[in-house]
Symmetry: C2
Subunit: 210 residues, 2 copies
């Protein structure tokens, strides 16, 4: 398998964490994602993945998989141990709901292609920064509420790290980089503190732009 | 089971289509989603679901499930026939990738809470309308490219409707309502035309605001 990724991408971080939790060692290639849309992609990568987005995973059979959550479900089905989803149906739905509350309700509003488009339609740079902080705040408040509804163990769902934690960790790192202290969401802060004890997480978070 | 939904919500439409494909008849309650965030939610619904978002599914065991894709995966695991995902692992990943290319890359940029926030930070109404059309156009172009990479059957993935089609159909209806003709994406137009022959789809699309 080969992972196309970028160190600063939260979505790529999710797949890196999943691979590390599974103990899978794969070939990696770093793709630039700065700037709007695909403008910084090399022609070679656009041949591999015309959308230009990361992450993408090339399977051993030569099939290119895209979308971090689809890749994580694939890895979990193909390499079942350790599982990235709980066993009970309602718990699986809850883990996926937390994951999607981040991957579908927060992250899509934040990537460079979106903030670049806001600038292009005349939104000032202070308002663009506020935009990101606004959606992180709204979204993590919703996640905090979700955790309060059902969280019982060490992590987001029970005592093993799941896809919920895999999405939460990079988003929490990103929130702190946007000067939002996790302490305002005590359940999130507590789960993230425990995830910071796990090498698969701390070694594979999103890396800030330099 | 009881579904909390709104007729105009694409995300609720996905769950309605999934329930119809499974032949499941559930109790339903319509929740208003007009306006920003949760402002139009009744206190009764905020008791049920503090986030105020739709859809939400209350299981027979009294567990409230949120996030349309998490609910659809739950329905598919609990009521396996007919399946909403293909059998082969790569095909399952592809179906989920198409679903997420819509549910995570297009739809999150379009809901009322986002367009209301754009207005609140001073973006004019013409630019807000262009915003929606821009992301639908970018996103469906990506989906068209995805389908070109792997689509082989009648629908998005093979010859049975999957979660990919369940996400594509409401988004296609929404694109047409934004005056974007599907003909510019021939593979999407062809799949959607076939989905329009299936009652589970045509009876459960998002209904326009009146």
């Amino acid at each position: 398998m080969k992972l196309f990724e970028d160190k600063i991408s939260s979505a790529a971080s999710r797949v890196r964490i999943a691979l590390a939790l599974k103990g899978l060692d794969v070939e990696r290639e770093t793709i630039g994602i700065l700037g709007a849309d695909a403008i910084n992609r090399t022609p070679e990568y656009l041949q591999v993945n015309p959308q230009g987005l990361v992450p993408a995973l090339l399977t051993d059979e030569g099939v290119l998989l895209t979308q971090s959550l689809a890749i994580i479900e694939y890895l979990d089905e193909r390499y079942p141990e350790p599982p990235l989803l709980p066993g009970r149906l309602e718990d699986r739905a809850f883990a996926r709901a937390v994951a999607l509350a981040i991957a579908a309700d927060i992250h899509p509003l934040l990537p460079p292609r979106v903030t670049a488009h806001l600038s292009a339609i005349g939104v000032g740079s202070a308002d663009v920064a506020d935009w990101s902080r606004h959606w992180i705040r709204v979204g993590l408040t919703a996640v905090e509420e979700l955790l309060g509804r059902r969280q019982t163990g060490k992590y987001s769902v029970g005592d093993i790290p799941t896809v919920a934690d895999i999405c939460l960790f990079p988003q929490a790192v990103n929130a702190e980089r946007n000067n939002l202290a996790l302490g305002q969401w005590p359940r999130i802060a507590s789960v993230v503190a425990r995830l910071r004890e796990i090498p698969a997480f701390i070694d594979n978070g999103p890396v800030p732009r330099t």
